[in-house]
């Protein structure tokens, strides 16, 4: 139960952060990805602020043997930089640029801009299903 509450709170803060930062505005995201044109660099502060916090806190968190409410840390198994990683990240970047949505803002757009979410979200889920089959 305590883990569910943490997950809920974590999700709440994450969702609030995505809206406050305007990551949910796909035009602003595309402007951020347009340094040779109509560049809006302000979204660099989103990742900058987030990574500053995670870099700082991870050092203390990972000094512990276990998380506070769980018996181990669930870390990625893969460590190598392989072809699949680069292929996947490349495809993701292309998709991100085409609409301005990455998964989190895409999900929140079910509320912000439903007329786009109703097209984007099914494709996001079908794409994930295809990628899952290819990964299995």
């Amino acid at each position: 139960m305590q883990r569910l509450i943490i997950a809920l709170i974590s999700g709440l803060i994450f969702g609030a952060g995505l809206v406050i930062s305007e990551m949910v505005n796909p035009v602003k995201v595309q402007d951020f990805l347009d340094p040779f044109g109509n560049w809006d660099a302000s979204l660099a502060f989103v990742m900058g602020g987030a990574v500053a916090v995670t870099l700082f806190t991870s050092r203390f968190i990972m000094k512990r043997k276990t998380p506070l409410f769980s018996d181990h840390f669930y870390m990625a198994v893969e460590i190598s930089i392989d072809r699949r990683l680069i292929l996947g990240a490349s495809l993701f970047g292309i998709g991100w640029g085409l609409s301005g949505y990455c998964p989190g803002p895409g999900i929140i757009n079910a509320m912000v801009n439903p007329s786009e979410a109703i097209v984007f979200l099914p494709a996001l889920i079908i794409g994930g299903w295809i990628g899952q089959r290819y990964s299995a």
């Binding site: 569910l4 943490i6 809920l8 974590s10 999700g11 803060i13 994450f14 969702g15 952060g17 995505l18 406050i20 930062s21 305007e22 990805l33 347009d34 044109g37 502060f45 989103v46 602020g49 987030a50 990574v51 500053a52 916090v53 870099l55 806190t57 991870s58 968190i61 276990t66 669930y74 990625a76 930089i81 990683l85 680069i86 292929l87 996947g88 990240a89 970047g93 292309i94 998709g95 991100w96 640029g97 085409l98 609409s99 949505y101 998964p103 989190g104 999900i107 509320m111 912000v112 007329s115 097209v119 984007f120 494709a123 996001l124 889920i125 794409g127 994930g128 990628g131 899952q132 990964s135």
Partner: protein, 139 residues
């Protein structure tokens, strides 16, 4: 051009970082949205882990809802074909590459994972190329 300091992006980013730190410190989990969504939907081995993933996604929607309405002008009339191709590419790519802006960009870099740094540099680069090409066709 002189612009106002982007305080809202910074505050939002810090909140996202705090969210990821909380989930890692208490539950030992990575706050990667694509992983949370797709493991919930497609990974039958993780059925016992569905609860926290549902809680996180409900929180995500709730947190977004609390901060609405948004101040920006909603985009209208955007190409449905682009939205579909985008969704497919984001879905396939984040599954094959095992992460998105949150999992690799925020959590992975925070843990100083070389894989995540490589993924983030890659998706920002292909994102920039895509928008640059796209806008040269539809300004």
């Amino acid at each position: 051009m002189l612009e106002a300091f982007p305080i809202q992006p910074l505050i939002g980013g810090i909140l996202i970082g705090i969210s990821a730190a909380l989930l890692l410190a208490f539950n030992g989990r990575i706050a990667g949205i694509s992983g949370i969504l797709y493991n919930l939907l497609f990974n039958p081995l993780s059925n016992s882990e569905s609860g926290w993933r549902i809680a996180f996604l409900l929180g995500l929607l709730g947190g977004g809802y609390l901060m609405m309405p948004t101040e920006f002008e909603l985009r209208t009339g955007y190409s449905s074909i682009l939205l579909v191709v985008s969704g497919l590419a984001v879905g396939i790519g984040t599954r094959i590459g095992k992460g998105c802006t949150s999992g690799h960009g925020v959590c992975g870099i925070g843990l100083m994972a070389g894989r995540s740094v490589a993924a983030t540099v890659t998706f920002v680069a292909t994102g920039i190329i895509t928008v640059t090409v796209l806008r040269s066709f539809m300004p």
